[in-house]
Symmetry: C2
Subunit: 356 residues, 2 copies
Amino acid sequence: MSQRDTQQSRRVNMQDVARVAEVSKATVSRVIHSPELVKESTRRRIHEAMEQTGYVYNAVAADFTRQRNSIVGLIAFTLRGSIQSDFIEGIQETLDLHRYSLIIGNSRYDPATERELIRVFRERQLAGIIAAECTDDNRPALQALRDAGIPTILTWELTEDLAQDCVGIDNTRAAREMTEYLIGLGHRRIALIAGRYERIERVRHRFQGYRSALEAAGLEFDPALTVSRTPTALEGKLATSELLTSPNPPTAIFAASDALALGALAAAREHGFDVPRDISISGFDDSDFAPFCHPPLTTVRVPTLEMGKRAAQAVIKRELVPSRSEWDSGAIRIALDTEIVVRNSCGPPSRRVRPS
Amino acid sequence: MSQRDTQQSRRVNMQDVARVAEVSKATVSRVIHSPELVKESTRRRIHEAMEQTGYVYNAVAADFTRQRNSIVGLIAFTLRGSIQSDFIEGIQETLDLHRYSLIIGNSRYDPATERELIRVFRERQLAGIIAAECTDDNRPALQALRDAGIPTILTWELTEDLAQDCVGIDNTRAAREMTEYLIGLGHRRIALIAGRYERIERVRHRFQGYRSALEAAGLEFDPALTVSRTPTALEGKLATSELLTSPNPPTAIFAASDALALGALAAAREHGFDVPRDISISGFDDSDFAPFCHPPLTTVRVPTLEMGKRAAQAVIKRELVPSRSEWDSGAIRIALDTEIVVRNSCGPPSRRVRPS
DNA sequence: CTGAAAGCGCTTACAG
DNA sequence: CTGAAAGCGCTTACAG
């Protein structure tokens, strides 16, 4: 193969193709990007030359020349659990359509790494950033990115900052609706297991939704019934164990992620509680595994694939209109609907407090 | 902020910093890459100049100049299920350490997309490629990448092609051991649910391991007991339903991924089978959710985090020694150990064929 | 310890 | 429909 040969010396570049096709490299570039501008016969000759020389387009050189990269970055705290793979699939699908690539950055919940990530993304002059999660601490860094001309889209929530582009769901309402559903089933003592309220806006919103549903129903808000945990099954299990063995246990547990709910289910079983007879458990996300839990999990469906697609579209839209004056005409704010998926993990409360 | 100001005109570049610090840009470059080569006082002056001008290093220009990109690409069929997020975490952790970024490509099981991905990765002149999965059809494309001087590391399996760099597990042995475990429990009719044997080497190996354990124990291999499915919970459930309602059902099901096993568990419950009393079910992967299944899943632990780290290290090692003559001194082949994690989803067979 | 110079491979107006 | 020319911002020997 010619690749092997040329490799020892020098890669084939556009100039080489131009020489073989007896055109200028500007024309070769046109064949690649706007073939309709080039005469049919010339185009054919160039294609042949590319074939013959084993030419591989150099995207790095192109990005460099254009002063704008065709790579989008994703910022996440973790790739486990909380980030739905569907969400990333949605982003990729859309990006592929427009010939962008995706770099995935993982801050591992570490602010220093997060800062580092943002620095690297700036250095790489990425076309845009999608933030899957963002602590309040991290907001200024995102803002700086935006100031540097790099579009940033926050996802999974509708930010209180109305100047921030976002594609998300109404977490407050979603949590309120699930809480109302549990209240409607007859529950009076409903626990909430969620992330760290103080740092993440969307978790705070879910908490607010839960609380406002309680208040609207005239139910007392009991701080002992809300626990903050990292959204993993293990933490959900631990938290549920504590709730179940507390002096005045809940009759329903609303886990603000399906991973937490999975752990809650396991804890309930271990303590001899039948779900939903002895205790109701609901989740949030409608993950892949939710229908296969025992019992199948009642949860909040989040249109993650759609959210990923919309976020990618938003980045691309921004990137195509880089002028800041245009941006100032208003933020992109896309609200996606959620819905409660009723399966079998919730039911009316039993009078028994402890199972046999 | 200075970023905002400079943005309207031109970005601050190395030359600007050099001017302010009254040095050449070569020296600025040295401060960034090999500060030990620069005199302390000069270094300080340059750092001040960078600060003052709001300089942001241009990594695209650097990659372009160096003719070698500091981004590694990952190729996968999907981001759902089969790819463990721990695996990607491991890759990222190692890459971060060495200041590489990760582009994640998703072929969505489509050969055309896969080819496209490989083309894009070549155009981007990536530092190397890690293939999380690779059909046989796709092997030549990977080979072409290698020929073009881009290191490619295959993962999750120890390839039959001894010239291919790989970091993986012995799928044959792992499957044989799990099958032996089930045989040891007393099972005679053991089903296997796995991916498509004909296309993926590691699935083929698991199948071979299963079969060789059967033969070693003098058990008949019954083709009716092996089913090929996409590794999702839904497919696992469907396949299990069929097995359970077949004329001569198995007493144990070995699902070659935990996602399949999760579905299998759900199917068993739906058909009124108690696990493990009426049917044993085992998985493969030891996913996050395995301990929280009902019952907790007996499965094969795969050191995914470690595998990710090793794969990234292998790419970096290759990338640092790009000369082909060095490569020819031998392929990188790293075998990682698996182990059976015994939980509660497997037990001795019952004599009952159908539950009450 | 530091500088001058060449060059990487494209794209982008501009001209014709 | 096509070409000539400038330039993007670095790094890399080489020289001193």
